[in-house]
Symmetry: C2
């Protein structure tokens, strides 16, 4: 087993590892480890943001480790007893089981289902009585729980915190105790909770789990982390053409993160195209994502559909401009199309947000076009570009 | 039923009533009420401090109401899971039951055992599961729990608060929910917890209990509230002679509180003697307390034993001074005994703490002596005083 390589693979993507030395040693023994990942049962739709961690888990599975998903159905079934969070309705047992099954099916697109186990934390939390709850609570002080940013910020700004909420990190941590987890992984926004699990295992006389946090993928808005509720996501279950179209909309500046965190394409391969032809880089990325989630055969159709949709507003009798060679600066194309009278005029148009390439607003005045496309100015002026 | 009178009796002694109007109305209906009082199972030794509330409960019983004691055995059996409080060892079920029985026997000295019920809160709290605990916790926000002085002060001064501790007010409050208490009484240091019970009953859709708080009796040190652990207490189970001796040691300035809060002697009767002869007032109080807890027959022996102990260090062949009339100022007696050469000399001796009356240091330069006593200066000089 190439344990060292797995550690290096993890290290390349991880934000934090607690602790590096201990994780390295445990991977080196070659013993199969129990690797835990928590899942929210109320949001079973997985997107590329989740794939960052799931893809790393797949690499761990491939080295013989077992992945254990914990569906947090226990709190899901309680809802929000304080009524502070009006959108949080209690789920039935059937709903949590059905969401868990859907979760399993979705992660199976990335993980090996044979080495993946789904657990429900109501199985152990639901059996705890008040005395056991108090013993659990007694392991933590208020001050330590309030180190969690979410709590301290809300307390400082006088926003209500239900007393039950203070238990959520403890419950998630207790899951690690109940499962004897060797490793827990999660996004960087989960760091506090993952470390609670590590602490609680010590308090319960167990070997503390290693904690690995992975970066949060920014969403299509380029600002917030990818999330379904913000509608800035690419779902791993979405049809190929939707995936393709969404990939083409990823803001240029975060496309490198998408390559690094959600594909196996090595940096040498994508770095060059990113710096020379951002549009080709988008096509490369979109093709790769469709390949991962729908297979090579789905690429061609998705790309054609994308181009057709992108030029959806264009009239049938568009002017066609042929450019010899393999690439052309957008500035040149705008002049040839008659949209701009000079380089500075072309720059102004781009900077004013009036120019689109295949339906997507052009923001880079140095953009290089290297394949067939439709360029538009405003709502009514279109021109087809043929390269080569 | 003289409900109005009961309300007035309560009102005279109570510090706070939530709410006055509602309590008055409920007493006026004449319906028997369930009146709750919480008890700490780890400290079953009752003292005069407890008697303040117990005597009021007796008056309520006499009007037909039922007294329900809640022995907080649930938390007693858990101990302190955080280990923050090293002196708090878990109690066994047998210990809590035995302490509860001892508690019942002691309160029976004041209460009518036939109208007194002892309950153990493990009966309902021990049956709650984690989901029910979270629902209970969800009724309160962190900010509201932190309104309790104990918590806010400790948090502000960075002293650790175990998360389990935040539950103690909720558990005590839930006891009221489980028992359907109509009224809860307690010392002023319990106000927060009693009001939590009132709030929780509303949250669980029940009629909120009335809350009555009674004053805390200062201990024999005149500073802290009476408590066994501070050794400033008069236990209601102590032998008559010990009671008598301790009563004689009550600081002069708080003796009026002792009369008002722990006896049935009306103010008209004790106010006069307090202002004219504080020593006689102490005797009056000591006799009354011995009568309440041991009966009239025990007074004489206790008083004689007290006088004997008080003069324990005196030699057999003391000088005797007879004073005609019924009362004499201490200053005069000190001069007659040859302990002081002048009024100012006598005052200096008293202020220096060197003069004792029946073994108790004299602090009041205007003290009037109105019965036989032994006065001493320092360790070796004694004189017997005969009045009348």
């Amino acid at each position: 087993m190439e344990s060292n390589n797995l550690f290096e693979t993890i290290e390349r993507v991880a934000v934090d590892i607690f602790s590096r030395e201990s994780l390295k040693k445990r991977l080196e023994t070659g013993e199969p480890l129990k690797i835990k990942l928590g899942a929210d049962p109320s949001r079973p739709d997985l997107h590329l943001g989740h794939s960052v961690t799931l893809r790393m888990l797949r690499k761990m599975q491939d080295k013989g480790h077992e992945i254990i998903f914990v569906i947090g159905d226990f709190t899901g079934m309680i809802g929000d007893p304080s009524g502070l969070n009006k959108t949080r309705q209690p789920l039935t047992l059937e709903e949590t089981r059905s969401n868990g099954q859907s979760y399993f099916e979705q992660v199976s697109k990335i993980l090996d289902p044979a080495k993946t186990r789904i657990t429900y934390n109501s199985d152990w939390l639901g059996k705890m009585d008040f005395a056991q709850v108090l013993r659990l609570a007694g392991k933590y002080t208020l001050a330590r729980i309030m180190e969690r940013d979410d709590f301290s910020n809300r307390y400082a700004s006088n926003q209500p915190i239900g007393l039950h909420e203070l238990f959520y990190p403890l419950m998630q941590g207790y899951d690690s105790v109940a499962l004897n987890a060797d490793v827990e992984v999660g996004g960087t926004d989960q760091t506090f909770n993952l470390l609670v699990g590590r602490e609680l295992q010590k308090d319960y006389g167990k070997k503390p789990q290693e904690v690995i946090t992975f970066p949060l993928l920014p969403g299509l808005d380029g600002v917030e982390k990818m999330s379904k509720s913000l509608d800035n996501y690419i779902g791993i279950d979405e049809p190929p053409e939707i995936m393709f179209e969404k990939c083409m909309k990823i803001p240029d500046n975060i496309l490198p993160d998408y390559f690094r965190l959600t594909t196996d394409i090595v940096e040498d391969e994508y770095a060059n195209i990113l710096s020379h032809d951002i549009r080709q880089a988008h096509f490369m990325y979109a093709r790769e994502i469709v390949k991962i989630y729908h297979g090579t055969d789905a690429i061609e159709t998705a790309e054609q559909r994308y181009l057709a949709i992108a030029s959806g507003n264009a009239p049938g009798d568009m002017q066609m401009i042929s450019v010899s060679g393999s690439r052309a600066p957008i500035i040149e194309l705008l002049k040839q199309a008659g949209f701009a009278s000079s380089n500075s005029d072309a720059r102004r148009l781009i900077e004013g947000g009036g120019i689109k390439l295949d339906g997507k607003t052009v923001s880079d005045i140095n953009l290089i076009v290297s394949c067939d496309a439709i360029i538009s100015r405003g709502k009514n002026r279109f021109v087809k570009i043929h390269i080569g």
